[in-house]
Subunit: 275 residues, 2 copies
Amino acid sequence: MTGQSLSHEGKMITSLQSPKVKQVVRLREKRERDKTQTFLIEGYRELTRAVAGAVSFLMLFYSPEHFLGSNEHTLIQTIKDQRVEVIEVSRQVFEKISYRDRPDGLLAIAKQTHLSLNDLTLKKGRPPFFLIAEAIEKPGNLGSILRSSDAAGVDALIVCDRCTDIFNPNVVRASVGTLFTVPVVEVSSDEAIQWLSHHHITIVATTPAAKSTYTQVDLTGPVAIAMGTEQLGLSQKWMEKAHLQVSIPMCGVADSLNVAAATTLLLYEVLRQRS
Amino acid sequence: MTGQSLSHEGKMITSLQSPKVKQVVRLREKRERDKTQTFLIEGYRELTRAVAGAVSFLMLFYSPEHFLGSNEHTLIQTIKDQRVEVIEVSRQVFEKISYRDRPDGLLAIAKQTHLSLNDLTLKKGRPPFFLIAEAIEKPGNLGSILRSSDAAGVDALIVCDRCTDIFNPNVVRASVGTLFTVPVVEVSSDEAIQWLSHHHITIVATTPAAKSTYTQVDLTGPVAIAMGTEQLGLSQKWMEKAHLQVSIPMCGVADSLNVAAATTLLLYEVLRQRS
């Protein structure tokens, strides 16, 4: 152990063949995440937000050689105080378990938690504000959408007919930990549409075919902004159920924006109109 | 040759050891791109936009087994008519040279072209509208920024103190070919600031410290929206030279948006105010 180490029960892991190291690597795969109902959280900022979001940790790995700041030990102690196994690993082992370009020496295995539509509460004092993400494929986009959802203050992100599970390490990374602060529900499109209808929430769909642009319609009431896949946009099902269809002006040769960029535009237009 | 093949001079490449195959793989590296002043363009949509953007091709590889549509042969013929070497490759070879998840059977080597600030013309009839991207690191972000720049109709993207070269294959991919439709200039920050000042263009910087939000300032005049790195935002140099500082409301725990999402918000706010 180095002078920087915290005292802990486990011994430092130096072997790349350690079963725990292998388990971390396996958790990059969806099948293993689904089976074990666990997932990976890497990085100081992400773990700090996970602590704030009351995530349950199972195991924390740390490599002091990789630390970038000086607050890592406080964070480790906070997680350790939750009776979580805290394990120091060698530089080489951390570089094996890390999935980032610039590892900062902290990576945890945590328990998945799943919300249902019934867990969502409509806030009093302001109109409901939801985001629907239908079948988004790229983890980076889903993570970026979470980050914008947090920033724009949506009540929840409803992921419909999921392609990418929200516990994909690249979702966690691209969300910079906002996965733990934005309520996220994974359901079928049918369930989501029924729930929104029951709560009289206006579904707003973005499509190049719409006559009004997104800045020309009233978004100050109860709204759910619905966004579709990278390739094809929203499915016919959502287009038919949408109460409002809006377009985003496209001045160039491309016919669409990146889905996370388009989502951010819509969310911030709600915010602009309501402020 | 399969029945689908076009007639061409070259023979079909089936060997993974072919020097041309190796050259394609090498072009994923910046050093090789810089040395040869060439780069890769993969995909039907990207190549179509490259043709429209008058890109000079050196070599086109195609694998009919991967084709997703029926217009590939027309595109190949168009490129072939420019006296470009067109080479059929086997499925296995294409999968080696492709850098995408879903190859669509078309990949070219093209010549880099470089614009300077002197090549930019200020359009008559409407105020200048530029985007500054300072030291963006992730190719996916730079590509997404290009896509939004095309969509919002910016006059040019000025990449300052580059970290990622615009010819990185992931920039081309994330830009979905808008790299060939948006004028892009790579210069130092000093040169860009001097040029903007000479043309009396208002520099707008985004910073959490600003008192006004981006929707509260007048963006209808000549503007250059300046965006900084993923980690640190704009450098001190740009902050000091900015005529306007604006913030983006952040309602959650995160202190910033993804840089491409934030850029899109700013560009579309210019568009909204001007329409």
